[in-house]
Symmetry: C2
């Protein structure tokens, strides 16, 4: 049975703790957290440490800390030659200390402590410094999720940017929808079915086939009506540039 130590107590760490505990083929040995407080509901006290020197032996150490802390945490580990993976989309393998066998297990999903999700459906993007470690990494990842991909550093970087577009930027457009509803005294809930359907549509159509709306039709009457109606400068600017980007795409076809 493969054993796991998780370092961190944030969004990803907490989802991973639950996922490891659920996986019949994995053993959660220990969790490292600077502050124990946030983990009490998830892990028995004796499995939590805030002292690197107390870290126990495990097949893999998963560093689930803020991107900028990954290098220093990797250097703080008091052992050598062990398998150590971070979970970041944007940190390279090379930024970790060479004292251990470096790897990446990047879960391509948006995690918040407050929102439950089924970890077995989270795509896991794997990379390992040594070819021989890939098999172990894959076995551990497959115990956590049904979808596992081999993704190198360049691809992972690209995926992370793609994720910013389809998650962070998309959410910001939801926020703008919410702002417009507030301005006109409309409950935001009215937009939710449209938001869900827009996301679910691309499971049967490509985003290209699914594109609709005034920009796609180059319907300048409606576009101008909308631009005149928008009162906030950032909304106007985003409307213009996104419309232009859609029109340019159509013209390229």
């Amino acid at each position: 049975m493969n054993s796991v130590v998780i370092i961190g107590s944030g969004n990803v760490a907490q989802h991973l703790i639950k996922a490891v505990e659920k996986a019949p083929d994995l053993d959660l040995v220990q969790v490292f957290s600077r502050s124990h407080s946030g983990l009490k509901h998830l892990v028995p006290q004796e499995k939590i440490t805030s002292n690197y020197e107390e870290l126990k032996d495990a097949t893999i150490y998963l560093i689930c800390v803020s991107d900028n802390a990954i290098p220093s945490v990797s250097y703080a580990l008091p052992f050598q030659g062990k398998l150590v993976a971070h979970t970041s989309g944007s940190v390279t393998l090379q930024e970790m200390s060479t004292q251990n066998r470096r790897a990446v297990l990047y879960p391509l999903q948006t995690f918040s402590k407050q929102k439950e999700l089924d970890f077995t459906k989270v795509p896991l993007c794997l990379e390992s410094e040594y070819e021989t470690d890939y098999e172990i990494l894959e076995k551990i990842a497959s115990a956590l999720s049904h979808t596992v991909y081999k993704i190198d550093s360049t691809q992972r970087q690209a995926l992370h940017v793609a994720a910013v577009f389809v998650c962070n930027f998309v959410n910001h457009l939801y926020k703008i929808g919410n702002d417009i509803c507030d301005e006109y005294d409309i409950p935001f809930a009215i937009l939710r079915p449209l938001i869900m359907e827009t996301a679910s549509k691309i499971t049967v159509l490509s985003p290209n086939e699914a594109q609709t709306g005034p920009a796609k039709r180059n319907d300048t009457t409606t576009i101008n009506k909308h631009l005149n109606g928008l009162t906030k400068p950032n909304q106007k600017e985003l409307y213009k540039i996104l419309t232009k980007s859609i029109i340019d795409d159509v013209e390229k076809l």
Copy 2:
């Protein structure tokens, strides 16, 4: 029992035909279509006409044609004093002919003929010229969907813009995610769970609470890494302006 005539044979018309046929309290009297061909699988031949003069009596006539054709179709109707509603988010009530009792039944959803959906979950936004017609309109709408809202022309205009942001523009961001995946030989399917979760998250969190990512954290290292990695000018420009819009929002809090 209220009776319905549907004018048009496009995306909305086809979904409405199925919804009316399913509703026990509604009777589909007839469908008007310039070209019969696209409706054969949905409606018996004798219920289809391409001649306005042949239109039968009904409680409501639903004009489901392209926005720019709504006025001319409303003028082409050979009768007077009947309840006539269009289904557009952006056309005002005033753009229709005064010869009939004007109304709007705007389904706030994205429809494609190829994609099935549960019409009872589509929010219907209602408006009527005469107060006395609102009750009839509401009864018909409630037979089609569980969520019905009274929305005036100004609100509907605003909602249509909001819908462009959370549907058309969001889909364009999916398209960019797809383009990036293609460029780096990554299957687009890897992004689908993230896309679904991002949409489903705002059923439990507000878009403001759900916002994450480098822009939200003002993580300039990652932002610059991403900007350097992007090769297409439109992707770079959208990345910059969306990042700025998120940062400005955070600063306003």
